[in-house]
């Protein structure tokens, strides 16, 4: 392979890098990973597109255009989801409560195809070994389980201790 072509490859890499940096910046903090599974997939799509333009198999502009289209769609998705809750539910799904007041909600577990062993493992990740300590466990749209403990099982808060100072604040 000629030196000139290697130089062009390096040049195209730099252009793609700067371009992707701008795209990720504009999409914002929610663009990647920490939100829904779909946000993560979009990050995969955007990065999967770049090899062809960098290696010169497709024109650079075509590659950048593909990235813009995916990013714009994703931006529109989160924009509509913010302004129209029903759209958000349609594309993002709804969180589902799987444990309430220490009781397994078997129908909800079945609907999420989550078996009891998996649930137990998710609860352990939240430092829960007794399901009776759970006031509410919710499978969130990002695939994580969030757990709210019963009042008796909660970590001690300051207001639980010097309650005389906190009277009237519902301590």
């Amino acid at each position: 392979m000629e030196l000139q072509e290697l130089g062009l490859t390096a040049g195209r890499t730099i252009i793609v890098y700067v371009f992707v940096l701008i795209v990720v910046r504009v999409l914002g903090k929610r663009a990647v990973g920490n939100f829904t599974a779909f946000d993560l997939i979009v990050a995969f799509i955007i990065s999967e597109v770049v090899d062809e333009p960098i290696y010169g198999n497709v024109p650079l502009l075509q590659g950048l255009f593909a990235i813009i289209v995916v990013a714009a769609l994703h931006y529109a998705n989160s924009f509509l989801g913010f302004h129209f809750p029903s759209f958000d539910k349609l594309t993002g799904g709804k969180p589902r409560v799987v444990v309430e007041n220490g009781q397994l909600l078997r129908e909800a577990l079945a609907a999420e195809r989550l078996n009891e062993l998996e649930l137990a493992s998710l609860l352990r990740e939240n430092s829960i070994d007794n399901i009776e300590d759970v006031a509410q466990a919710t499978l969130e749209t990002n695939g994580r389980l969030s757990v709210l403990k019963t009042p008796a099982a909660r970590e001690l808060e300051k207001r639980d201790l010097h309650w005389t100072e906190c009277q009237g604040r519902g301590g």
Binding site: Y17, L21, A31, E48, V50, D51, E157, K158
Partner: protein
């Protein structure tokens, strides 16, 4: 058979090359956990696939990956030194709740609706928004919170104050030990 050997050789070259690059770049570069770091890691793995299957000459793949890694290293280390560059490449933390009040404009800017905010709060173990004094959306996309006074977790030192209080109420030593 020959092509299988080719794949094995290419994969080995790419693997060692990436290992060296990641070690040289250091922990703070590729695994820092900002969205952009993740994307760069994904870009590198995308470029590697073509080397393995001989879709591009090996040297071209190595140049592309090397350029990407060096560029990212320069940007990250530059950002560590220059606040201006840092602001350019990395978003700042955004307050979503301040003094217990929702920051509606910031929520709109980040396109996070209130039910998404509640999800993030539940993941912090908060079910009542009123318990939150400050909530910040960090550059990594993670929400960090500071609780209202009183709703903060109790610490060992609070125990001393509790026993002091109980003593002042005339509790005996036996009762304190329970």
């Amino acid at each position: 058979m020959e092509s299988l050997l080719r794949i094995a050789a290419n994969a080995a070259i790419a693997y060692v090359y990436l290992l060296v690059i990641v070690r040289l770049a250091g922990k703070h570069t590729i695994a820092e956990g900002t969205p952009f770091d993740l994307v760069v890691a994904l870009l590198i793995s995308d470029l590697t696939g073509d080397i393995v299957f001989s879709d591009v000459p090996v040297e071209q793949g190595l140049v592309a990956i090397g350029t990407l890694a060096v560029l990212h290293l320069l940007v990250v280390s530059g950002a560590a030194r220059s606040p201006a560059l840092d602001r350019l490449v990395e978003p700042r933390a955004t307050p979503l709740i301040e003094e217990g009040a929702l920051m509606h404009r910031n929520l709109e800017f980040e396109r996070i609706n209130t039910s998404e905010l509640d999800v993030m709060l539940r993941e912090c173990g908060i079910d009542v928004r009123g318990d939150v004094q400050t909530a910040m959306l960090e550059p990594s996309g993670v929400l960090t919170i500071r609780r209202m006074p009183g709703a903060e977790p109790a610490q060992k030192r609070d125990r001393a104050r509790l026993s002091q209080y109980l003593k002042s109420q005339g509790a005996s030593q036996d009762e304190l030990c329970e």
